[in-house]
């Protein structure tokens, strides 16, 4: 109600298109599988908040949020009875993959101006998953307060199918907006409802009419995740003391990451995860890091041992503003689960002397994604190395959807030279970038006085 919106249609006309029904509560059911996955992935120590930021500061709100996060209500509308046309098909989340396209459908602000906001859509991808049979899904489809309880759909050959229910549309971590949406797999909710019905026996049979409470397997998705899903094993977690970030393997021993991730160390630990069940820690030597004065925030790490197999990314040779892209990295969750995928478009290609020197995207990029790859969604080509998102320190706001990457075309000849000759001299060119490149990346520099923007 505090929103200052002025509906264009009159309330009477608008509400005439809506019908209100009284509903009975059949049951409120917990989904402990979701709670288990949630508690493993989202540590309380990391100051997570769900809902509006101002609510996060109210005493006791966090506990309430967490206690009810995994509860769902199952309602019956007695008078809503006509043949089941267009019935929603529920499908299992088990076969979802990171990068799969998802559609979220909800009504922002709940009962406030439903004629305007009811059933609005957003599109995103499966950013990450956790728990048994992918009970916890994170998507970058943008949702607003009030969309809790709304549906998340996957587009398969059989049409749009309900795969999850929105649990928390906005996530705040340590007072920074993350912008991912927490979703609970609908098959798990239905399973818990079924179990209650079995336990309660006749009592609920009377209340709850017979209906299919089974999610069927997800069909073949029409919007497949594309090549990015297969490139995930090339993305590694780089740990250096308490600092961690992301990196991308460009050959079997060499990975690229950011200077600020290796943090002046001579060696780092690299967590390699070729598949969700397997992870190993390999020591790596920092063979090159740009100087603080360099506009390019880059480091090169050589592993002590070569990887036996990994999907070697194809390096892009050109960029097309507006093309679909994905950022992959260990932002937000670190090593609590595998890398997250976020989607967007290449929003800008900044050039100096007709050569790209900076890429900007609309993907959500969070702390910990630094050094991760920027991939072209459709070709899978490696476009760049993510260097930073944006923070306005004057208001304390982080903008995850405004971020900057080093174009791979800047690095490709240097990597090729090093791979061929073992000579690191070529990387030193990055320390000799011209003033015009320095100006483009000026937000990267440490400020002399008040930091206006942290990169």
């Amino acid at each position: 109600p505090a929103l200052g919106l002025n509906p264009l249609s009159s309330q009477r006309e608008a509400l005439s298109s809506l019908r209100q029904h009284e509903a009975q509560l059949l049951m409120a059911v917990a989904c402990p599988q979701f709670q288990d996955a949630f508690s493993k992935v989202l540590s309380r120590a990391e100051q997570w908040h769900f809902g509006r930021k101002e609510e996060a500061h109210e005493a006791g709100t966090l506990d309430d949020e967490l206690l009810f996060l995994h509860w769902f209500a199952f309602l019956r509308i007695p008078e809503l009875g006509f043949p089941a046309a267009g019935q929603v098909t529920c499908v299992s989340a088990k076969s979802l993959k990171k990068g799969d396209t998802l559609f979220a459908c909800g009504s922002p602000f709940g009962s406030f101006c439903p004629d305007i906001f009811m059933n609005t859509l957003s599109k995103g991808v499966v950013s990450n998953m956790a728990g048994e049979e992918n009970v916890l899904i994170l998507t970058d489809a943008r949702c607003l307060p009030g969309t809790e309880g709304g549906g998340v759909f996957a587009a398969s050959d059989d049409g749009l199918e309900l795969v999850g229910v929105i649990v928390a549309p906005l996530c705040w971590k340590a007072n920074e907006w993350v912008g991912l949406t927490l979703v609970c797999a609908v098959d798990c909710i239905l399973e818990n409802i079924r179990n209650v019905l079995v336990r309660c026996g006749k009592f609920l049979e009377i209340l709850c009419p017979p209906m299919q409470l089974v999610a069927r397997p997800l069909g073949r998705l029409t919007a497949s995740p594309g090549p990015v899903y297969h490139l995930l094993p090339a993305v590694v977690l780089v740990e250096c003391g308490h600092v961690w970030g992301s990196g991308v393997m460009v050959n079997s021993r060499l990975l690229l990451t950011c200077r600020h991730v290796v943090n002046e160390a001579s060696s780092v630990y690299v967590r390699i995860q070729p598949c969700p069940e397997k992870a190993s820690l390999v020591k790596g030597k920092v063979v090159f890091a740009t100087k603080d004065a360099s506009p390019y925030d880059l480091a090169v790490v050589e592993l002590q041992k070569s990887l036996l197999s990994f999907p070697k990314p194809v390096l892009a040779s050109k960029f097309c503003a507006g093309e679909d892209v994905n950022v992959v990295g260990f932002g937000v969750f670190g090593q609590a689960c595998g890398p997250s995928v976020t989607s967007g478009i290449l929003s800008a290609v900044v050039t100096v002397d007709d050569k790209p020197v900076m890429l900007q995207t609309t993907c959500a990029v969070h702390g910990g994604s630094s050094g991760g790859p920027l991939f072209a969604t459709h070709s899978g080509e490696l476009l760049g190395i993510v260097a930073s998102n944006t923070r306005d320190n004057s208001v304390g706001a982080t903008y995850p959807h405004l971020n900057f990457s080093i174009p791979i075309t800047v690095l490709q000849p240097l990597v090729a030279e090093y791979s061929r000759t073992g000579n690191l001299g070529s990387f030193q060119e990055l320390d000799r970038a011209c003033d015009r490149i320095q100006v483009v990346w000026r937000l990267q520099r440490k400020p002399r006085e008040i930091q206006r923007s942290k990169l």
Binding site: E22, L25, L80, F103, C105, S111, F153, V186
Partner: protein, 110 residues
């Protein structure tokens, strides 16, 4: 795909609100009386079954349940205030659209 999407979403989405039934409480209106609202999904039209998030019901838990309810797997209607009123708001086009689809389905094909 988007035609399918349109049909699916129009039939699926609703707004669920929970409040205390008017006139059932002698105390002045308090924030716990709501209304609280969230989105919901119509899983089935016949019978009318809606799934939504459970948090909107939390202000209506009866005092006796507030001690250890979080250890439980299910809460039935008697765990909530007897004056809990749940309403579902739903686009009326759904009905005509759905009925239209049924008529279309019933039409003899050439």
């Amino acid at each position: 795909m988007f035609r399918n999407w349109d049909i699916a979403r129009r039939n699926a989405g609703c707004v669920v609100s929970a409040s205390s039934a008017p006139g059932t409480s002698v105390a002045p209106a308090s924030p716990t009386q709501g209304p609280w609202s969230c989105s919901g999904i119509v899983l089935s039209h016949r019978p009318g079954i809606v799934l939504c998030h459970g948090a909107i019901l939390s202000p209506f838990l009866v005092a006796a349940e507030q001690v250890d309810w979080s250890q439980r797997r299910v809460l039935l209607a008697d765990s909530f205030s007897p004056d809990l009123r749940i309403q579902v708001l739903w686009p009326v086009e759904n009905r005509s659209q759905a009925e239209g689809k049924i008529l279309q389905d019933l039409e003899p094909s050439c």
